[in-house]
Symmetry: C2
Subunit: 308 residues, 2 copies
């Protein structure tokens, strides 16, 4: 699966993921009003507004980026209808040719982790029938429980040609509380990075990269530089660009000399661009065009930083 | 909320949680067949079978235990219908007077963690309406992202009188890969335990215990002893009893001198008791009675270990 992502990155010239993390406050009032008129101020109404909003964004960016990353928490907050909107978003994105990274940060043990892996990346059997309940291409995975939590995902990567990104060094301010603690003189995130390299060997794509990647925040460029060498065959999914403070120049060391090895996520910087001063002229009706313009600006920022 | 759990533990004399982790192979064929007849071999059929199975278990154990712990992965594997069965299970358990611990192991940052917290323990607003999408009383939380991931849950604990159990030392064989690594001479789980104590001070229940508890596996009794003293005001949710190898005698140090401070989970040892040799005489039609008998045997095992 990582080969498919790389092929799309090269075709679009954009190592960019659009984070579909809709909050109701990002959605133009006209879309919200229409959904509430049809479904009332209900979980169904919120879910419908989110899906219609996403559809506009997906249509506007599908040609310019390789992938989207819906953050499932933003859908799960609206219960079952919200999760239905998540499934519809995954389906619609794939129909538009986008690779879908489910930002689910699941992680459990044994049969439980296998259930998450099967439902998000693989298939489940019911009697003699087989279903793919969520259908993402990649999922993010939390490593705190160790190999027991991660290996079931790797099995599904191998059986269904999918991929994962394991949390290594997250972009948030308090990520250091545990991840930076020194173990034998090395920070924990490096120990986790070494495990990612080891796990990665169990799911190598023919293109030479592993289907097991890592999450390392744009807000920690120095750690990115180290982790790039610790996990030479693992792609790095980089959150924290834009709204969280990361800039193109911070990203250089996440990439290898060929400009590969990383894919950078921006969420509200793109999907809520229409609410920013720089894109205010698009207005609420032009929210999707504003997202497209923000994608193109981000592509330019990263290309320049990489000197391409 | 921890006060409510304690009151129920004292009333039942059972510091026991029944893990509702249904797998289709645990469900009596007659229940499966009926559900498939009504809904086909579909995700809906699987979900209906799970809910009917749970209902039988809940009816049989509600009088004897304070709480149930549905493991959301086992529902999520059947997609949206599976998650509907999760919601129905939470509702039905609460209706029967049980405290519900959602074993969701969520953990993210900022607004994302807040979304998980709101949807599982709190409420979300849609326009002028307010909903409680999942409605559990407690949730399990993964600490790898640090305070940014945990504090939004604590806020909701305080605003909605709910509780959490933070993963500290999990019951699985590979839990030591990261959790046991030494940081300043102390294993990481102890560092996380110290944080649980600190977080716990932000949500004290009038009964003197904190609404912020911890997960520590029954399979690691020595670690349980240490963590009991590191987090003196935090309840410990103890998985790994029964099927995973933990016994009553292993549990002694998880409790304090008053026999409080811990609540022990058993999942398949109870819900799939009818498939074990010891309870074979109950037959498939008696699966719920077998579960009840397994609960009573577990209560006896723990009481004897605690010398009560």
């Amino acid at each position: 699966m990582i080969g498919k992502l790389i092929e799309k990155i090269q075709r679009t010239g954009a190592p960019i993921v659009v984070g579909l993390d809709p909050q109701l406050k990002f959605i133009p009032p006209s879309i919200l009003k229409k959904a509430f008129r049809e479904h009332g101020e209900t979980l169904e109404g919120a879910a419908e507004a989110i899906f219609q909003f996403n559809k506009g964004i997906i249509n506007a960016v599908a040609e310019y980026v390789p992938a989207v990353k819906p953050q499932i928490a933003m859908y799960e907050q609206f219960g079952i209808p919200g999760l239905q909107a998540f499934v519809r978003t995954v389906e619609y994105s794939r129909k538009k040719g986008l690779v879908v990274i489910g930002d689910i940060k699941r992680g459990d043990i044994g049969s439980t982790s296998m259930s998450y892996a099967a439902s998000h990346l693989g298939t489940v059997d019911v009697g003699s029938e087989t279903y793919a309940p969520f259908g993402e291409d990649f999922a993010t995975v939390n490593p705190y429980l160790g190999s027991d939590g991660v290996k079931p995902f790797i099995e599904v990567c191998n059986s269904h040609n999918k991929g994962i990104f394991v949390l290594v060094k997250t972009s948030n301010p308090s990520s250091g509380e545990f991840q930076d603690r020194l173990v034998d003189g090395k920070p924990l995130y490096e120990i986790v990075g070494e495990k990612v390299r080891e796990w990665g060997e169990e799911s190598m794509d023919p293109c030479g990269w592993s289907n097991v990647g890592a999450v390392v925040g744009a807000t920690y460029p120095e750690q990115g530089r180290i982790l790039r060498t610790v996990m030479p065959k693992s792609f790095i999914l980089v959150p924290g660009y834009g709204a969280q403070g990361g800039k193109g120049a911070d990203l250089v060391h996440f990439f290898d000399r060929d400009g590969l090895g990383a894919v950078v996520n921006s969420s509200r910087g793109i999907i809520a661009a229409w609410q920013q001063e720089a894109y205010a002229s698009y207005g609420e009706a032009g929210y999707a065009d504003a997202a497209q313009a923000a994608v193109l600006a981000m592509r330019k920022d990263i290309s320049e930083a990489l000197g391409r």
